[in-house]
Amino acid sequence: MNLKYSTEQQLLADSAHRFLTTNYDFSVRQKIVAGDIHASEKSWIRFAELGWLGLPFTEADGGFEGSETDLSIVLNALGAALVVEPYIPTVVLGARAVMLAGTESQRQVLAHVAAGDIKMCFAHNESKSNGDLSVVETKATQKDKGWEIEGTKTIVLGGGEADYIVVSARVSGEINSKNGIGLFLVPKNIKGLEIKSYYLTDGSQAATLSFRDVSVEKDCLLGATEKTFDVIEEIFDRAASALCSYIVGGLRKLIAETHGYVSTRVQFGRPLIKFQVIEHRLAEMLVAYEEARAIANFSTVSLSSSRQLRMRAVSAAKVKVGDSAKFIAHQAVQLHGGMGVTEELSVATYLKAVTVFNLLYGTPDQHRRRYERLMTNGAFATHDSLAYSIDQ
């Protein structure tokens, strides 16, 4: 057991936060959200230079073999700055699908990702999904030379910016069968693919992807279809865990911003923080943050563990981080008073990011129910220590 950062990890954290504080402050983010593509591209290149884009890849794939903890450290820093570029869609989702299921030749795309040349996304969700990962209505039909894909994917994070798309499609079976799902690696400019791009609440970007008679080569299929559902499930968990690490970074920033505001803003002759009610509210925010931070770390360390521990940890994290984040963001806005609801200060944007967080990759309610199922099915026992996980 080891739940502390190593010296190298501490350095990684410091440098990542320092870089983004200097190069990606709130005004830069506002410019990017307002459409400054140049600033966004510049940031992306810097992320590549810093080694963030290839962090989890093997050296052979052009990466740095970073651990889950390393990745969570970078995500935390990205969340502190509310970076809008599609880091998670690219590195945690799209590239991970290739890492998990790709052949050597398919994995060649990873070096381009690491270099910052290629962005990716993961197109799995459909309008009928409603939280059920096995629902895939999009069809992939085998044609002489390859496959033909037909169907529509919704709320694809980074879908409008991705150069390569990993899309799930049904090769066989019922609409919600866990078997018979294929993952396909498809370039964005392929014939028949229509991308309707839009913005989410927090200014990040998503898209609806409509595949109309899209023909792809045979070697676009990632891995064996019998294992695809497991891959999708793992990517779902990695996405949820990554979002937790990201937003926890934001929460820490939000507490610092709020503390700064109430320390300087004077009312009835004294700084707001001198009012005990405000002081204790901040303490409650810190408690909520500590809870979120601790359980997000649980989800991080679980990612390389058994499937059941991973699911338990990720769901616990998504529930608790979600609740904590909502509490902290609401209180941050409240303690900022009127200024908290203007677009001048960043606090409103953090609330928007929290709102998005709670709706993506499983709502707190959906994750709570998954946790309940694991609990009542005996996947874990409430009387065992989390540290016993290895031999369960």
Binding site: N130, Y199, Q334, G337, V341, T342, T355, T363
Partner: protein, 402 residues
Amino acid sequence: MNIELSPSELEFRDNVRSFLATSLPEELRNAAIVNISALFEYDISHAWHEILYAHGLAAPSWPEEYGGKGWTAIQEYIWRIETWRASAPVISQLGMRLVAPILLQFGTEDQKREFLPRLLSGEHYWCQGFSEPGAGSDLASLKCAAVLEEDCYVVNGTKLWQTHAHYSNWMILLVRTKDTGKPQDGITCLIVSMESAGIAVQPIKTIAGDHEVNQVFLDDVRVPVSQRIGQDGDGWMIAKHLLAVERASPGNATARLRAQLTILVENIHKNKAARDDPFIIQRLANHSIDTDVVEMLELETLQNDPHQDDGGVVASTIKLRASIVEQAIHETAVMVLGDEALEWESKRPLHAAGRSLDELKDLAVIPRYLNSRVRTIFGGSTEVQLGIIAKWLSHHQGQARL
């Protein structure tokens, strides 16, 4: 005790209902349904104002001699419930419910004659210049200064959070005319034309992308003494009076909440997963029960003697609870729609975004949730209300109402 309306009150309600059914244009109704900001957008509220004015209903609670109908508190209550129920816009409350009572109470005959009819007709549209950067809850610390030079006050300073100042032609303004003594004593109330030289209105974009509030800069703005309300130094008293008037808005909280609940119920009905979700239904039931409580508290106030001020403890309780309940309703609305709620439409007003009504309803959900956060901040934050309530309790030696 009994809770039922009398037959004549029920008849009044039915008349209001038929008036609304025949007089509220569908396009106004559809725009009002997807209104996301704290107030109704000017374009729809003003259009509805003109219709009401044509029917003599622009200010039914005013005395009849000034063009009102002299309605009872219960009638006003019914009117509010019914207009929200019909998804009608609510016309600007600032002029009708705040400026008018102040003019009636403190204004000169000339001021009444000049301003009341134009307020009624909608020709004048008002904003309120009270808060400042650094003087929100702590109004007594305001700094915007006015110096009397012959027959004019010369005003210099900055005001913050002026709702709809960019649509207004008049502002009711609190200024500091004396720097010595108790801060409360040096405040004076003026009315100012927004076309005066030296006034600049700077928009403030709020969390859901709306331009509803502003910062107003006053640079050597000359205001004739004839536009002072009351005497020099009466400003604090007038602000207190206004606060008391603001408290007595029978049905305001309940009607708003019931309207939000209705939208929520509709969204739940459309969505099978939500309909079958015991946790969503539980939240809905809690919201409904919380609304029942707010309504009971409001119904009790209808019989209150308006001259017997309780220090605002009941109004504070209602304000505090209604704000929190409304926020919770919007949180549920987000949950019901789920990730489908995430698409952001930045066009404002939203109803003019050129989308279908069904699309607009979905696109309104998150902006409304975000905007609802101001409920516990503006109009006296929850913390301020708790302070008022605590003071009342200590003043009554810990004895709550029976």
